[in-house]
Amino acid sequence: MSIKGKAYIAGAFEHPTRLAKDKSVAQLHAESALGALRDAGLTRSDVDGYFCAGDAPGLGPLAMADYMNLTLRHLDSTDVGGCSYLAHVAHAAEAIAAGKCSVALITLAGRPRSEGHSGAVPRVRGADAPDTQWEFPTGIATVNAYAMCAARHMYEFGTTSEQLAWIKVAASHHAQHNPHAMLRDVVTVEQVVESPLIATPLHRMDCCVVSDGGGALIVTSPEIARSLKRPLVKVIGAGESMKGQMGGAVDLTYSAAVRSGPAAFAEAGVKPYDIKYASIYDSFTITVLMQLEDLGFCEKGQGGKFVSDGNLISGVGKLPFNTDGGGLCNNHPANRGGITKVIEAVRQLRGEAHPAVQVKNCDVALAHGTGGLLGSRHGGATLIMERE
């Protein structure tokens, strides 16, 4: 069974907060849900499927579904880190195609900024995980796990810090137009490579922001989507995978996108050159570079050249990316950016992105995410959407 054309994204909402000291995580989930329902023109009682991941407080989807007092016939709490919400859209499309639900709500929210989280501080990701005893003692955090990928990419392919910096530069060009973005100043390659080293070879400006916030999506059937007043954004392809250390055959030069990407393109029946806009998970600049290669936007090892000279800037380059400013400048709620990747792709397909960054004739868009740690074990999820 293919999900192509079986479901539409009818509602999308990005919580405007970036610092939510006065709100609870559950409240941010529910406020995001309310925003997405209003955007779609639906109400809470229309929801019969609910999707959330590890950022949702409580046991799986139970606490949040109860907080929002949902009446459900389908639940899914697939957790593959920051790309969970891309997988949720695909799973929602599958459930809708199978008749298991008709209006699926997906929520994400968190307060890592209020709680003082830093990607430079090691944290236990499951004390009982089989890898924890071997890896946590090393001081593996978030940034140094990704930094090891960058170091290896530089060693194998000659990628430079200046090339990585272009990714941040492009994001900053977009963020200047987003009033909600945490970092709105346009930056230069020099500013990025002269910012302090956090974990070699990554600089401070190679890293995404830590922000509070949330987001929500409504995925629904073709019949319901056509009954609403919103532009039609159709899900046409999806893929998901994971990649780990392969029993010690560690290879840091590629990501799970080598599997999720081709699966999504095959299902959608499109090629990388058909993509008018791409939301690419940008926890760090190296994340973007590797995913672009693995998704087939350029050859492996050529990512540095591909992202240089503004090639990711809307209106300037060949592949406009993260026109909201992305995780690098705008928002990375709950340290999980997957849902914002879908939201900006929906804005682009609807023609509702900021006019300064709106891609002309944006009929096909891709969103891709990486969850967990690119340098140890991570999930990957790709979504391809079409304006109808």
Partner: protein
Amino acid sequence: MAKERSIPAPLTNPETEPFWAAAREGRFLIRACTDCGKAHWYPRAICPHCFSDKTEWKEGSGRGTIYSVSVMKRAPEVYAVAYVTLEEGPTMMTNIVDCDFDTVAIGQKVTVTWRPTKDDGPPYPQFKPA
């Protein structure tokens, strides 16, 4: 020599206890499969290469080559995380210590060294330039 980071004690379990018991004697064990003949990392009862349950502990050489390394600058004590490819084949996540953090690099030959861990935990295997 700058002050070193204190290392959290590994949370051992019955599957891995022999490794940490040997570590207390300064011996570096690796796990290998008698069916496919390959060593793997991290050690586990079921071979991740061929999924056989015929795995055993072997004495490791403790020698390897840095596959990748990152020096964490934004920490109270600067430290280096790395992947080291062991002579026996598998690549493991570890630390590089007793090195110059400005010159530590991919391709360097390294050898195992042990550091005590907090709360009287077993020593943890790290690597230093060979």
